[in-house]
């Protein structure tokens, strides 16, 4: 039991909690108002410390004051972005409709390319730094965060999967053209 108590003390000391260091407790909703007796215009430092510990945003009901509709829209966009699956649209030139793939499922380029080739019944070929997918009728490209269309395979997989917003499999002369540059 002694041990437990010691552990407890230690735990408290290293306890992770929301709020700036120096703030004693997590403020509850009703504690957000300051008791008038504690307010003192003169002692700046002390007051600074106390007042700097913000009520954690998620705990303050109705703050910041925005309508539910707007909050939900922002939240929906955020959760969409953070969602467990990283689904991106894949279009192929000439195909009647687009598909979606979950990039989180794949660990490397070969895996992704194999899946794409399966999905669209095409042969993309092998990537080479010098020539891209030269020789193949298809070239996989993706749109990155800046809105530019990039060739799949140039950057490390992790960098690619986090910056890829959508995929497009180029076909025909456009695709071959890359190899001629």
């Amino acid at each position: 039991m002694e041990m437990e108590r010691q552990n407890d003390l230690n735990l408290k000391a290293t306890e992770l909690r929301l709020g700036l260091p120096g703030s004693d407790e997590q403020p509850e909703k009703r504690n957000n108002k300051r008791a008038s007796s504690e307010m003192d215009n003169s002692s700046d430092g002390e007051k600074g410390d106390q007042e700097c510990a913000p009520p954690t945003k998620t705990q303050v009901v109705g703050w910041p004051p925005i309508r539910s509709y707007r909050k939900n829209v922002i939240h929906a966009k955020k959760t969409e972005a953070d969602a467990a699956g990283m689904y991106v649209k894949v279009s192929m030139d000439g195909a009647p409709y687009l598909r979606k793939v979950d990039l989180k499922v794949y660990k490397s380029y070969p895996e992704l390319l194999k899946a794409l080739q399966n999905m669209f019944k095409c042969t993309i070929g092998v990537y080479s730094e010098r020539e891209g997918y030269n020789g193949s009728e298809f070239a996989p490209t993706y749109e990155d965060k800046d809105g530019d269309w990039m060739l799949v395979g140039d950057v490390p997989w992790e960098m690619f999967s986090t910056s890829c917003k959508r995929l497009r499999i180029m076909k025909g002369s456009e695709a071959k053209g890359l190899g001629c540059l």
Partner: protein, 612 residues
């Protein structure tokens, strides 16, 4: 000989004609106080009635005084209901109003409701009872379903329904579905002019409602379904736009892709107000080129919004030609546009008068706004990250830049990471014309980060400089001092919102004693108590309402106030610990809402609301 004396010799028809020129209800209220005969003439000629608090009066008395009323505007719940501080069944029911007007044979043409509970039964009754109903506007309302809307539609048969606008309504839709259902069976013409759904929480609905608009519907002037989450029938939408040549305002939802937008714009070059749907496409495609040329033909667009969900930055240049003529731009839902793209866009918008934007534009972006938008009158900067830790996206710098660059600025809503006194003082000097000034720091009690002082001096400068200030919302670390300034200088102030501010009752007293024109005061989480509440009880009859939550007022003080002022309703809202006759008077009241009224306690208050 005074003018009034002379005017008494004029027949009443002349007086009435003169009063016709009085548009504002305040002016009309004023003339009705001059003398008996003016009162009489005015009341028989008033057609538009505005009731700022639906519980201040009962419908029967309104109708008795204004028998010729054709347009009624009603407001229900307190403003803080928008931020979930008011329990949803608090009240604000429209049914008694509709019942009373139906009984009295009022010729209602227009009904505008804000923050009210609208049941299906109310809508059904509304539809049945008023053959000339043209306009129904619901903002921030709740309580109805598609059945109620169906009733409106099916009964608006013989009536030309001019405008149907639903904003922030919790319920849904088929609004159009509804309206559409009428015609095929009953061979009626629907003169729908406006259908405006603003910021609704809408259930996912299938997109067939658009196809339900009959072919004979050619009178649409305004169609806004931006908030709908479901898919839409694009072909039906295109046909609808094609046959409604009077369409001036069109706001699409996210399910309308860019290629549909392009086709729509080809059919509606006369649009004045456009809300895009999702805005993503391959910028090298044919479709995109067609969009660019369609946009160039839309020379009347003055107001732009949308860019919901997906946005392809490289497609934004297509709208640059529109930007040159824009007076109103709402990008506050376009969280996927990078600040660099926003800045490029803003460079083209030199005529903007109103801008709603997200804080991800950054201080630098606001600097660009300041140097480009010299005509800017209203700016709203909304937070884009309310759940995260929050990187400093906009600070006092952005606000200062705007104030320096935009001399016509008179209305601002600004969510920011931090604010300094120096900045506010500069803003006050640059912009003495503010009518509305609402500042919201994401941390509600943050001090000036440079001096660690409260923001009293900054807000003090604002109220001292802006002599026409009517609405003020405070935030940041604030002591009683700021209220001293407000009481001293804010002579025109009508609405004040206070949160987490002040030290003692003195703060609230400064405001109550100083602000002679105060109409609405709403306070949360501030240490104001009984002394402040009871110091000048007569003041509350000069105001519309007072809201106090998580403050220091006790049940006993509320009882005292209620006893002294029979023409106030003092409502105590305690959801957690129900307050009743046996409660201790020293118990603090969680939420108190008081308002002046001519008709005593309301009969529809729920269990957790006790009118003292």
């Amino acid at each position: 000989m005074c003018l009034a004396y002379m005017m008494n010799y004029f027949p009443e028809e002349v007086l009435e004609h003169v009063f016709d020129f009085l548009a504002s209800h305040r002016d009309r209220n004023a003339v009705s106080l001059v003398c008996q005969s003016w009162y009489r003439v005015e009341r028989f000629s008033r057609e538009k009635v505005f009731i700022g608090n639906c519980y201040a009066i009962i419908p029967e008395r309104v109708i008795a005084r204004f028998p010729r009323v054709r347009s009624l505007t009603l407001k229900g719940k307190p403003h803080f209901a928008d931020f979930n501080l008011v329990p949803s069944d608090w009240g604000g029911f429209v049914l008694p109003w509709i019942e009373a007007m139906a009984r009295s044979g009022v010729n209602l043409e227009e009904l505008r409701l804000k923050r009210m509970v609208v049941s299906d039964e109310s809508l059904e009754l509304l539809a049945r009872s008023f053959p000339n109903l043209r306009s129904l506007v619901l903002v921030s309302c709740e309580g109805f379903t598609t059945d109620g809307l169906a009733a409106i539609a099916s009964n608006c048969s013989v009536t030309p329904l001019g405008e149907l606008a639903i904003g922030d309504a919790d319920a849904m839709v088929g609004l159009i579905l509804v309206l559409a259902m009428i015609t095929p069976k009953v061979a009626l013409t629907l003169f729908l002019m406006e259908l405006d759904l603003q910021e609704n929480e809408v259930e996912d609905c299938r997109g067939q409602w658009l196809s339900c608009f009959p072919d004979s519907c050619t009178s649409l002037v305004s169609l806004n379904f931006a908030c709908l989450k479901g898919e839409v029938n694009l072909a039906a939408l295109e046909r609808l736009v094609a046959r409604n040549h009077n369409l001036r305002s069109l706001r699409l939802n996210h399910a309308v892709p860019l290629d549909a937008l392009q086709k729509i714009l080809m059919q509606a070059p006369q649009l004045v107000d456009l809300g895009t749907g999702s805005y993503v496409h391959d910028p090298d495609s044919d479709t995109y080129n067609k969009l660019k040329s369609a946009v160039q033909k839309c020379t009347s667009i003055r107001s732009l919004s949308g860019f919901l969900e997906d946005v392809a930055p490289r497609c934004l240049p297509a709208i640059y030609p529109i930007c040159l003529n824009l007076t109103s731009l709402n990008l506050s839902y376009a969280s996927l546009i990078h600040s660099s793209e926003l800045i490029k866009l803003i460079h083209h918008c030199s005529q903007l008068q109103r801008l709603w934007i997200l804080d991800c534009i950054g201080d630098k972006g606001l600097g660009v706004v300041a140097s480009t938008c010299k005509e800017l009158q209203e700016l709203r900067v909304f937070p884009s990250d309310i759940y995260g830790v929050g990187s400093a996206v906009v600070t006092e710098e952005g606000l200062v830049a705007i104030s320096a660059g935009c001399p016509k600025l008179n209305s601002i809503l600004y969510f920011c990471q931090q604010m300094t006194n120096a900045a506010l003082i500069t803003v006050a000097k640059n912009c003495p014309n503010f009518i509305r000034f609402r500042l919201c720091t994401l941390n509600p009690t943050i001090p000036d980060p440079v001096t660690m002082q409260p923001l009293d001096e900054g807000f003090g400068a604002i109220v001292q400089s802006c002599k026409g200030l009517k609405r003020l919302s405070l935030s940041g670390l604030l002591t009683d001092q700021v209220f001293l300034y407000i009481g001293m200088y804010a002579e025109q102030l009508e609405m004040l919102s206070v949160a987490f501010a002040g030290n003692s009752d003195k703060g609230m007293l400064y405001v109550l004693n100083g602000c002679k024109k105060l109409k609405k005061l709403e306070i949360r989480d501030s240490p104001f108590g009984n002394v402040a509440l009871l110091a000048d009880v007569g003041k509350y009859e000069t105001m519309r309402s007072l809201w106090m939550s998580s403050c220091e007022v006790t049940l006993g003080a509320c009882k005292t106030l209620a006893k002294k002022m029979p023409r106030l309703n003092v409502e105590v809202i305690n959801e957690n610990d129900l307050i009743d006759a046996s409660s201790d008077d020293r118990q603090k009241v969680e939420k108190m809402y008081l308002y002046r009224t001519l008709v005593g306690p309301r009969e529809d208050a729920p269990e957790f609301v006790w009118t003292l």
